[in-house]
Symmetry: C2
Subunit: 344 residues, 2 copies
């Protein structure tokens, strides 16, 4: 046979999802939006029910060598709550299923669920179901979150118009640098277990990775200011990758300015120390769980003084154009590298 | 240290769930019922949203040596739809997350999703989301299902009253015998790969295992007859185990008759061939996905002629009493063995 077996890595995660989703159609009137946004949207009278799900696998999404189980539990919930925030909704229920091998003790499970409970308390979310089973290899966590929003307030990825303002919250690249730091410390530890880890000075980035938060505060601030973004997405795979999603789904071009991209000075310094370009870390590092959204220019005044919302550029009517203006004034095409869990 | 490490197998699956659930409380008014039934129940105006989730792990819940991937996909959906049926509801949406190792080709993923799609079509359910990722060992499938029912029609496990009639649908023990047959054929094959599998005469039981169906037809029949069961549960872990759940949650005793328990003659014959007691297979074999429910005596006339609903006994006001009257007229205490995925 000439025909090479088609491997999943040939398609990549998004290619695989597109291949799967393409075969399915919507049959129930209660399904307002299926696959293709941060969450699906279901009809519930005046309200919309939002639903999103994540599957986390040990060795792929997290490394227990440096991830405390209670942080892992907290983050798993926060990442799902972030998907609901990205629809401009409020998370209210989650289900948590875990598979774990017999190397895990009940104490370990308790630590994981302590983190899950802390997140449920912090985000006012109810744990309403789940499944527990054994696995042959490691830990897996599958979380589904349900949220709500008034129907007219739900924000999709596809609503940006040309000349909207592109906003991001918080700062970017920190979680990515946290990962680099912990990976380096792990190497050091493996080569010499007597070495003490050196992470105090990197506490901010390590915290960004291990103690991720969902920006539910931003959703509340937007509501208070009477602003409904024209499009929104959460930054789980990296700013550039998410900009590409907004561009594709909203059919707009992207024009951002390098000097507007928010990077914490500690992230910046650590990137330099690691001989990495801080901007590349901010553009392509994942797991920051900040929000990326667009607003109509009419809403500029309402948000311009918000300390944690950064206006980094604008959309235009040329969907093929996705560019960044560098600090030197040169125009650089954006590339969406993102995180591909199926990469070799 | 004297203290032995507490192992998950010491608690068992239900013990672990109780331990976890005990630490969580409900904070949102939209959560009408959390952990503890076939599905959680959420407020959506006149309607209730029902939500349930299952995690299936290769080597624990299924063996790909004899489980075709499209059957696996179908069954994974059917098992979840069954949980919604057990609440007297109609499943409308699912999310499907999979983790798979690189031994799986795109063709394998296609086969799995063909089965998922066939089930979505058969049960009129929309696939609205999911996650795909790689795993270091085998295949995992996490499904969450959402369903609906008018609020006053939702049936819980805790509504049975003394002197209600206990009903089961279909026939029991078939899936368990199907598993025995396939395990035997696998052994034969492993010792001599040239041997042809002998499964034609066992087709019914093998079908019960591999091609599980959810009894959505029964939910429709109950509605047509104007019957709302007083309690209901689906039979995934075995009749005896589910009777214990109803007894505990409804605070009623259980009195069933051996000669009323529906067993297909092929299941019966296969059990005898395997030197197993057919009644034990029916009581403790899992994965039949039939419905077990109780009805008020006033509803007896409406269901007595239903060809696929079998009245196997009644409830009483002695919760500690869970007994079966044997064909010989002796009284046997019921034992709930169920399926424990954490057993050694």
């Amino acid at each position: 046979m000439d025909k090479k077996r088609l491997e999943i890595s040939d398609l990549g995660e998004f290619g695989l999802i597109d291949r799967i989703a393409g075969n399915f159609s919507i049959k129930n009137r209660s399904t307002l939006k299926g696959i293709g946004d941060d969450a699906a949207v279901l009809d519930a009278g005046d309200e919309a029910i939002l639903i999103s799900t994540d599957l986390l696998v040990e060795g792929i999404h997290f490394d227990l060598a440096y991830t405390p189980l209670h942080h892992l539990g907290y983050k798993a919930v926060a990442a799902n709550v972030s998907d609901i925030a990205a629809m401009n909704g409020k998370a209210e229920q989650i289900t948590v299923s875990i598979a774990l091998s017999n190397r895990f003790s009940v104490d370990a499970v308790d630590a994981l669920y302590e983190g899950i409970k802390a997140a449920c308390d912090s985000f006012t979310v109810d744990l309403v179901g789940g499944d527990t089973t054994s696995s042959r290899a490691g830990l897996m966590i599958s979380i589904t979150v349900l949220g709500r929003a008034k129907k007219e307030k739900v924000v999709y990825r596809n609503g940006a118009k040309p000349n909207d303002i592109i906003c991001v919250t918080g700062d970017l690249g920190g979680a990515f640098m946290g990962l680099q730091i912990l990976e380096r410390e792990k190497e050091v530890y493996l080569s010499n277990p007597a070495m003490q880890p050196e992470i105090e000075k990197y506490e901010y980035m390590v915290g960004r990775l291990l103690k991720a938060e969902a920006r539910t505060d931003i959703v509340a601030d937007l509501a208070e200011q009477g602003v409904i973004p024209t499009s929104m997405i959460d930054i789980s795979d990296g700013l550039a990758s998410e900009l590409f999603h907004l561009s594709k789904q909203s059919n707009v071009g992207i024009h951002i300015f390098e000097d507007k991209i928010p990077i914490d000075h500690q992230t910046y310094d650590a990137a330099i120390e690691f001989k990495l370009d801080p901007i590349t870390c901010a553009l392509n590092g994942g797991e920051d769980y900040e929000l990326l959204f667009t607003i109509a220019q009419a809403d500029y005044e309402k948000l311009k003084n918000h300390a944690d919302i950064h206006m980094i550029g604008y959309t235009n009517d040329k969907p093929a154009e996705k560019i960044m203006v560098s600090k030197q004034g040169t125009v650089v095409p954006l590339k969406a590298q993102g995180w591909n869990h199926f990469a070799g």
